[in-house]
Symmetry: C2
Subunit: 219 residues, 2 copies
Amino acid sequence: MRYGVLGTGMVGRTLGSRLVELGNQVTMGGRQAGGDDAVEWARAAGEGAREGTFADAAAFGEVVIVAVAGSHAVSALRMAGAENLRGKVVVDVSNPIAEGTGFPPQLAVCNTDSVGEQLQREFPEARVVKSMNTVNCAVMVDPSLVPGAHTVFVGGDDAEAKQVVASMLHGFGWPAASVFDLGGIETARGTEMYLALWLRLMRAVGTPHLNVALHVGAR
Amino acid sequence: MRYGVLGTGMVGRTLGSRLVELGNQVTMGGRQAGGDDAVEWARAAGEGAREGTFADAAAFGEVVIVAVAGSHAVSALRMAGAENLRGKVVVDVSNPIAEGTGFPPQLAVCNTDSVGEQLQREFPEARVVKSMNTVNCAVMVDPSLVPGAHTVFVGGDDAEAKQVVASMLHGFGWPAASVFDLGGIETARGTEMYLALWLRLMRAVGTPHLNVALHVGAR
């Protein structure tokens, strides 16, 4: 599979490296091509890894992963270009952390909207799936860092796109029973607002290697 | 133990009934004394159950439980009277659901503040503990409705008050290992914003008998 990863930070590099390890081809995109982090990443990740602009990465990918800060997600996708996103699965793993609000940070958007919805509204021909934003990037690609069975969410308006993301998750080591379909892209509001709890959990337990498992009683 | 339960709705009645069953004395308070729900509750709950105003309930309780809608919590405590709350453990189980926002509802306060913090700010001599607002009231008093070990949170600035709440939780059937101390009252922002996810989980699974279990990896 060909992936475009938008974002050259820790999240993008972690996802990109794992996808290359699993035999995929990955182009990582930044605001400009040739950034130090992206170049170093492409060299270290080896065969199958390339870097370029947001547009290069989006054009390359059959699946496009949004791994920039949530408050920059819309602008990154604008730079990637609607024509490079049309019909594609766009996996939004971002959270809208507001800059300059200390720790724990506040959210730049919440309650009445979400990054996932912003992306789907602005790029109606993309098939946006919100996923993995409730776990640290190391856990995204290696759920065994957290003991036991625990849950990762998918939300989006396109059932087939969610299946594509579920397959990617299985490749990362998430069992089928751990992938929970919340519903439409509107559910991104729920998983993004959970960041407020996640940040406080991280501070309390002293590691980002944490997650929650969904338990459901009788209906 | 003597409890004052503020709120005559489903949450207050469920908590009140279980506390009476466990041998405690409970006065349930409403905006006015003698409301149909409260009177009927007191009759059905039997020995140890009484009803009255918010002020009656707060004056009676050694522990005061805030079981009104979150957006009415401050006004309920004002009616209860600061003098009836001074030095007491005030357990806030509420969520700030905004009225008239459809389903899933929005929050009336979030991101930069929380009901838990509002209460602690307005009543600095009360010892506010946010707890149980991440589960349905039936699960609050009977965690076995959800299979396996799962987590309930406490947050507050007074360690002793959190111990009192933990003891109440143990009485309801929550094992010590399931009670997670998030930190200060500011963490109420995290558990209240989790409502956005909880509501969508409830819709997806089709029952309010759900919860999450915290799993933590190596530090």
